[in-house]
Amino acid sequence: MPNHSSTFQPEPGQGVRSMAEEPVMSVGDDKKAKGWLGSEQRRLLVQEYGIFLAFLILVAVLSVSNEFFLTAGNISNVLLQTSINGVLAIGMTFVILTRGIDLSVGSVVALAGIVSASFVTSSATAGISGAPYPVALGLGIGLLVGIACGAVSGLIVSRFSVPAFVTTLGMLSAARGLTLIYGGGRPVPALTPAFRWIGTGDVFGIPAPVIILAIVFAVSWWILNRTRFGRYIYAVGGNPHAARTSGINITRIQFVVYVISGGLAGFAGMLLSARTGSALPQAGIAYELDAIAAVVIGGTSLSGGVGRVTGTLIGALIIGVMNNGLDLMGIQSYYQQVLKGALIVGAVMLDQKRNYGA
């Protein structure tokens, strides 16, 4: 399959890994097998729970150093701040698991946010004629916009074998441009209270965006871990050639993951505008970077096939908690960016050491 050879080089790390795992080949001798099993279990333990442990330590340190951190109000605030990045990062996980990347989510946030807002604004000038329409219509339109953006990227990546980085970089620019064209560069204000509920409402004190994040997470976890489609995603990301030979339609899988990422980005866009009460044309700038950061901190490999959506959720929480903690300590947001950068690289360094080193 020549059209995939350019996009799917076997990951360069594999050679190194097989070398490091060399002694494993001597399974057969019982004693050896058992010793290896022990280290394998240890490895899995670190891999599965290491990031969770890091999260707990972070929380523990912050609770001790700041009495305000563990209050209900602050926890709710952290979760609220994490919800939008969480939704984006979960969509990003699907894409990265198939060896792809979606750089366009920040722009899709803005486009879906402004298009849906124009349907549910009570402003006489900013909305489309007949607005405000019912919330369901606004939500449906926003979701459709996101799905459409994802479908275009997915089609180009899967059918025409254009590298995902390039395709979604193009979509990043195009969707931002469409946002400015659609709104004439102006924000859409005065969203109806019914629409604003998804960003500001709560159920028994739990903010609606947090509930939405929980639902998105649960459904994604189920899809990735318990369904045929989830197995396809891991197989396509792990080895597209083997997946194809095994009768898996890899073009379709690649297409669908971008649709999922786009749809979730559209949804996140509506959450954002609902929370702030208006849709801004410059919304969501650089959101893709936080989403990718959460995925990477969560232990998903950029070379595909390896990773868990649970890790992504914790990765997003770590970013949220760290930002919040630094805020509470009164540290300037400039420093926060530096620390976040160090965190991303540090997490992957540990990952590398765990997988290939020692």
Partner: protein, 492 residues
């Protein structure tokens, strides 16, 4: 006589697991020494220590009687030890000459590279080896076999006194192999020492004059090949008696399993016709690049044939994607399990189930009990040695990995088995188990089409053999009416 290389009590552990417990080795000048052992015997670890990639835990390495310590491959090279690695590492966008002289390019004025001198000496090197490769062609335009030949030329260009060859013929054809053997004999007469690592015993008996056997990370024995026969060597490698190397219990029935008529694919294969019967093992022999794999790609829907008819179970069929082939009961065990057979980052269980996912998830969600059961059945049936089936398949030995690939397809209860080099990189013991699996399948009425570049294997397992040459069939012969010489003759 002074030894070129002497190794004693070499030890190496990884995280408490001993990969090498007692590596011993003696190499005399002017000899070809075969290093034998199954997968996991410690050969690769041994080689990597001598190359300076791994640091030894204990033991002594003496080069011409002098104690040495290598910390990098450059150290080993400086001491006159070169290696031809099994895994190729070409730089695709550079020329053959640039690859050969990578890092030691002849200098021109102003710190530039003397490309003319470099190309000239590279071409001379290739010509001396009688490898039909141009030094100025780009690496990416070469076939795998040619790349391996370049790798061989590169190792020889170092003018090393000790040359390790790790499975040098695994990707090249019979003719190139003979050129390589000629080169080895020339090196031998120059008084150099060659260490030859291969699973192919016929090659070992053809080229080597002494042997050392490793098993389970330790030295088992050594001696002159003149003093040991093939079963004796196998016994040492495997550690137990193997009754027969090949297992063949099947008998072809008159019914046709799969029939191919005038199959063509531009620039790959032309006018291929054969029919394999139920209960038959139909062998396809030919050199690399003779169009063997391309036949399977067309049959399995991975490639689009331009002409030809395929009949399965008496009915003409159209196969445009792998799922079509699978629905007809075809199964394809590809040539390179790491590249196209397995998802190395996933578990044994997930790999076994990879081709049966729709069947195992009738309501979209996976039936996990069924997955576990399927995996257990296949592991029992094929005696796949894995601590747990949730461990990554990358941790298994080559033979067990291959059995996972077989398990993946047997789970679908196929009717026609397409096997492309089913025992490549598999040790003698596991090979025999794979032969048993193939033979049992055919004996139960299945149809097997098997590609192999090992002559012994083709002759030992097949009922009939089709010889491929340059994309065309050079004839179909029954195993009784042909022999190794005529197969090689026909294929070249």
């Amino acid at each position: 006589m002074e030894l070129l290389l002497e190794v004693e009590g070499l030890k190496k552990s990884f995280g408490g697991v001993a990969a090498l417990r007692d590596g011993r080795f003696q190499l005399r000048a002017g000899t070809v020494h075969a290093l034998c052992g199954g997968n996991g015997a410690g050969k690769s670890t041994f080689l990597k220590i001598l190359m300076g990639i791994f640091k030894r835990d204990a033991g002594a390495i003496r080069r011409r009687g002098k104690e040495v310590e290598f910390t990098s491959p450059a150290d080993a090279l400086a001491s006159g030890i070169a290696i031809i690695e099994q895994e190729l590492s070409p730089v695709p966008h550079m020329t053959v000459a640039e690859n050969i002289y990578l890092g030691r390019e002849p200098k021109a004025r102003f710190g530039g590279i003397d490309f003319r001198a470099m190309n000239r000496s590279a071409q001379k090197l290739l010509d001396d080896l009688e490898f039909d490769i141009r030094a100025t062609s780009y690496m990416m335009n070469l076939s795998v076999a040619q790349m391996q030949l370049v790798e061989i030329a590169k190792a020889l260009s170092h003018d090393a006194e000790v040359i390790f060859m790790d499975e040098p013929t695994s990707a090249i054809g019979e003719r190139e192999a003979q050129h390589l053997f000629d080169a080895i004999r020339r090196l031998q007469t120059q008084g150099r020492g060659i260490v030859y690592v291969s699973h192919r015993l016929s090659e070992i008996f053809q080229i080597a004059d002494s042997y050392t056997v490793f098993r389970d990370g330790a030295y088992v024995g050594s001696g002159a090949l003149a003093d040991i026969d093939r079963p004796g060597l196998i016994r040492m490698i495997v550690g137990r008696e193997l009754s027969e190397e090949y297992v063949k219990t099947n008998a072809p029935t008159p019914e046709t399993g799969i029939e191919v008529v005038a199959l063509s694919c531009p620039n790959k294969i032309e006018d291929i016709s054969f029919s394999a019967r139920k209960g038959e093992i139909f062998g396809i022999y030919g050199l690399m690049g003779a169009g063997r794999t391309e036949i399977f790609n067309c049959l399995f829907g991975l490639d689009k044939p331009s002409a030809g008819r395929v009949t399965v179970d008496g009915a003409e069929v159209t196969i445009s994607k792998p799922a079509d082939a699978m629905a007809l009961g075809l199964a394809l065990v590809t040539e390179d399990r790491k590249l196209t057979g397995l998802n190395l980052s996933d578990s044994v269980r997930a790999n076994i189930c990879m081709a049966s996912l729709p069947e195992m998830s009738p309501a979209f969600a996976m039936d996990r009990a069924r997955e576990a059961r399927a995996s257990r059945d296949m592991r029992d049936q094929f005696q796949i040695k894995a601590a747990r089936d949730t461990m990554p398949v990358s941790g298994l030995s080559g033979g067990n990995q291959q059995k996972v690939v077989l398990g993946k397809w047997f789970l679908r209860s196929p009717k026609v088995l397409l096997l492309d080099e089913p025992t490549r990189g598999v040790d003698v013991g596991a090979k025999r188990e794979i032969y048993r699996i193939i033979s049992d399948f055919a004996a139960a009425g299945g149809t097997v089409v098997m590609i192999s570049s090992e002559i012994d294997e083709v002759l030992g397992m097949s009922d009939r053999i089709m010889v491929m040459r340059a994309g065309r069939s050079a004839g179909i012969f029954s195993r009784e009416e042909t022999d190794a010489q005529s197969l090689v003759h026909l294929s070249t």
